[in-house]
Symmetry: C2
Subunit: 419 residues, 2 copies
């Protein structure tokens, strides 16, 4: 692995732009203040006129679903799921899922995402794709309780055992949701979590129907239901959390549950808008995800940050809530914490060298009064030029170094051509 020196650059630190010379050795940031004595760079990057920012962490996606990009738009949820997504998902092979995941990796890298949490259906595939793309990934095989629950748990453990020594790959257990896993199965997953020490990744409080059904079946909200069950004694990442009571928010905060906010997917599937301001006020660790491309259709965290900044202002009728700086924190350190990634999400000595280099010459930064605002409100992701993950350059001046883009597009179009 190359020693890298990024010279005469600006680094994004706590939402501010600070002059820096970044030395990277063995995948780790050795110094933010230039090459220490004895450091001999193999690669020198001219950082003049560039911004180095921590790589973005996409805290919730289903990466194989990029195959569904623009396949199921503008339809009601039941038609989306039963009419469009499930019939085609049912035809996908593991190899198809690999190409879909690679397609997501292309889009994520190009828009500055360096790590993602993937809830998937194809054991071993996302880990292989992330490995081939050079991305940091948390692999979480979706688990549903009825008919084959134990098989899925075994698959999840097999892939975890196969990949757990890869420095870029980690795992969580992913009971899909309270409406696809019954209580005994959720207890079984917690048992596995106890045995393995793995955290939990679950869809939670996404739709009004989920809330209504939970009250009807259990007399309480989905958050209360899991809290009573003891789920939150495990490190938990809950995706969506659109519909929350004040008690729910208090429970999430008390138990240190992280919430992956997916603003665009929640709008597209007509679920609503999550109470992000209220969660942040209560001290919940909120991070940001794109969800799958079938309900988005992009995996561009810059667009997601834009929504995350704007929606709370509009719905709370307060212009000074959920600032750009807070949202950048959510999309970097917040995500890293939620995913259990050690030393990820900030640019400082000792951290993993996961970063995106942006061209400050682009119009989004002209003029540049405030870097956090420019990133969250004006940039669209196309400003990203170079991406480094764990010290490896995975994109250089717009060219992916580890992925053959055209090969991936060829397969994605081959797989979906008769849809």
């Amino acid at each position: 692995m190359d020693n890298i020196l990024i010279k005469h650059t600006k680094a994004l630190i706590d939402g501010e732009m600070i002059p820096a010379d970044i030395a990277i050795k063995d995948g780790i940031i050795l110094s933010m203040d230039g090459a220490p004595e004895g450091f001999v760079p193999d690669t020198v990057i001219d950082g003049e006129g560039k911004l180095c920012m921590p790589g973005l962490v996409n805290a919730h996606t289903h990466a194989y679903m990029s195959l569904f990009r623009s396949y199921a738009d503008d339809v009601a949820f039941d038609n989306w799921l039963f009419g469009r997504i499930l019939p085609k998902e049912d035809t996908l092979t593991p190899e198809d899922a690999y190409w879909g995941t690679m397609l997501s990796c292309i889009e994520m890298i190009k828009t500055g995402t360096t790590a993602f949490c993937d809830m998937h259906l194809f054991a071993g595939i996302p880990a292989k794709a992330a490995h081939d793309a050079g991305m940091r990934a948390v692999i979480t095989r979706g688990l549903t309780g009825s008919d084959g629950g134990e098989r899925r748990i075994a698959e999840a453990l097999d892939e975890w055992n196969e990949w757990k020594h890869d420095p870029l790959i980690s795992g969580m257990l992913a009971p899909h949701a309270i409406y696809t896993c019954d209580e005994p199965f959720l207890h079984r997953v917690m048992e596995v979590a106890d045995e393995t020490g793995l955290g939990i990744n679950i869809h939670l409080s996404e739709s009004p129907k989920e809330i209504d059904d939970c009250y009807a079946a259990h007399g309480c909200s989905p958050v209360e239901y899991l809290a009573k069950m003891g789920m939150f004694r495990h490190k938990t990442l809950a995706a969506h959390c659109v519909h929350l009571s004040e008690t729910d928010i208090m429970l999430l905060a008390e138990h240190g549950v992280s919430v992956a906010h997916n603003p665009k997917s929640n709008l597209k599937l007509a679920n609503g808008i999550a109470p992000v301001k209220q969660m942040l006020d209560a001290g919940v660790n909120v991070c940001i995800g794109t969800d799958g491309a079938g309900s988005n259709n992009a995996l561009n965290m810059f667009s997601e940050m834009n929504f995350a900044c704007l929606l709370p202002k509009g719905i709370n009728k307060e212009g000074d809530v959920v600032s750009a700086k807070e949202v950048i924190r959510m999309a970097t350190v917040g995500g890293a914490k939620a995913l259990g990634l050690q030393n990820v999400g900030e640019l400082k000595a000792g951290m993993q060298a996961d970063l995106a280099i942006l061209d400050l010459g682009q119009v989004a930064f002209r003029p540049l009064h405030d870097i956090a605002g420019a990133l969250c409100y004006a940039a669209n992701g196309s400003e990203v030029e170079t991406v480094i993950i764990g010290g490896e350059i995975v994109m250089q001046n717009g060219a992916l170094t580890k992925i053959d883009e055209e090969e991936v597009y060829y397969h994605a179009e081959r797989i979906t051509k008769d849809w």
Copy 2:
């Protein structure tokens, strides 16, 4: 002006992708089916793997305000306006406004916008900037009633008389809002509209405070107030319309008032979310604007279209409302109609040659199940390669042909460096 032939391309027609060979002569689309006999192109563009779409129409902006990009983020409205925007706006010279407007033209052209409606403060400046940039513009000098109302009207008429013969420039009268123009002044503006035949461009029903104050002063909503006054006998473009009663929506539809929806600005300034579904259902001509960069901070219509598709689904809890096709219509023909632009907004023979050429090889279009969905939900504007306005190529493969980008950036940064 060159004769242009775009060969072997795809054209976006009624939201669908149709094979085309586009011949352009004297600024007009001569044919969508190849070069007619005797047509000799000066310029041939290879359209293989590209999409030609109608240029986007930004129906509401204040283009000089790009100087304020990321200058006033995450603050409450009063602080935004009185603490940040007005004190600096007060220091701007007409020359400053020219560079700010040119800066907006750069961003708009790069993201496929070919026409914009500009409410401004600097007579003659936006017309000159649009002319220099090669953009189609509707210039509307903002009019306020107290102290200097007649002077402003005179300025508006002077610039209109100076520029009305320019094929790319047209004008409207722009009484700023009901809270900055009293009733006698609004009648005076209507008198001028009668004399000149110019349409009206006005901010309307933007904030909760505007509604409350109007009820307190006039016992009715802002829309009812203008309707009673007879304003809507003129061709009217009303920006924002966030807070509307059912009666308001009915009045807008009945009177053929066009509404410029500015979803991102409305969120950022904490005004709320406009009832777009309800307006469309009632038959209102809704179009899309970015508003000024001070309350956005981008002038990227792709991002605005994304919000316009997603917000109505989330707030109405219906996934099948306000489709991508409808939003593309709003951002093209809807905008052209609202701005009174003749033969603009569609690609067909006889129309003005205002179009953007996008690279279908970009990841947003891979795979490509539905072009309208891909444009509204996955594209971010960076897919635009070439832009033609009135038959003139203003951007070719990412390079602006009429604007010296670095000169504009230099001035924008010079003007704002001590802010």
